[in-house]
Symmetry: C2
DNA sequence: CGCGATACTTCGTGATACGATGTATTACAC
DNA sequence: GTGTAATACATCGTATCACGAAGTATCGCG
């Protein structure tokens, strides 16, 4: 899939992945893998970015002798998901423009 | 609208704008303006990129004393539009994932 | 003559995805 | 008990990209 097209979805996908319950990096990647491939370096960059933007909070906890960072979505994060939904209808309008011109 | 989301559409929008008939930079911007805002610097960057990728061809012609560069889509450009359509169904799958997680 | 519209160009910057590489522990097979 | 895969996170450098700013030049109109 086209990288540029994917770009706009990554942040929101990560937010969606932690929306129902908190999760951690490694699990987020595994959860998203069937739908969207993303490398670890990309994911951790995104998580850091979303944390800076206050769209999620982090807590570190030990699990089976290893440290894990658990990410939890914030209200700002949920608002971001809502905004995405309205952006999506705009995207659909543009899609129709593209396919309309295409048909001629 | 979110810039990242827009990114994936710009190239394809420009291709769609010259798909039915050849056009030139200034007109492309005006045609797209109601749907997608894009600055001149962005457009000309995109046109150069698409030319390098052989998705369009350019011819320069004089019009009312001014030089215009007319852009015409190529077969590769049309294939790109086709690819975009299949990418779009993938995008829709991801969208459903995001809104599904969102509902919980 | 001045100004806005037309038309294209170049430069610098900030944001971003990602491969490569590194660190460290656990679980399991041989 | 040793190696190897899986788990888990971090950092660095690079390439791509959108865009604002600024510039050049012509035409039409008041």
């Amino acid at each position: 899939m086209d990288i540029q097209l994917k770009r706009g979805l990554l942040d929101v996908c990560v937010l969606a992945a932690i929306n129902s319950e908190e999760s951690y990096g490694y699990k987020i990647i595994k959860d998203m893998a069937p739908l969207v491939e993303l490398s670890e370096s990309t994911l951790y960059t995104i998580l850091k970015r979303l944390e800076t933007a206050n769209m999620l909070t982090v807590r570190t906890a030990e699990h089976a002798g290893r440290l894990r960072k658990y990410y939890r979505i914030t209200d700002a994060g949920r608002r971001r998901l809502e905004e995405f939904k309205s952006d999506w209808s705009e995207m659909n309008r543009i899609y129709r423009f593209i396919t309309k011109e295409d048909a001629q």
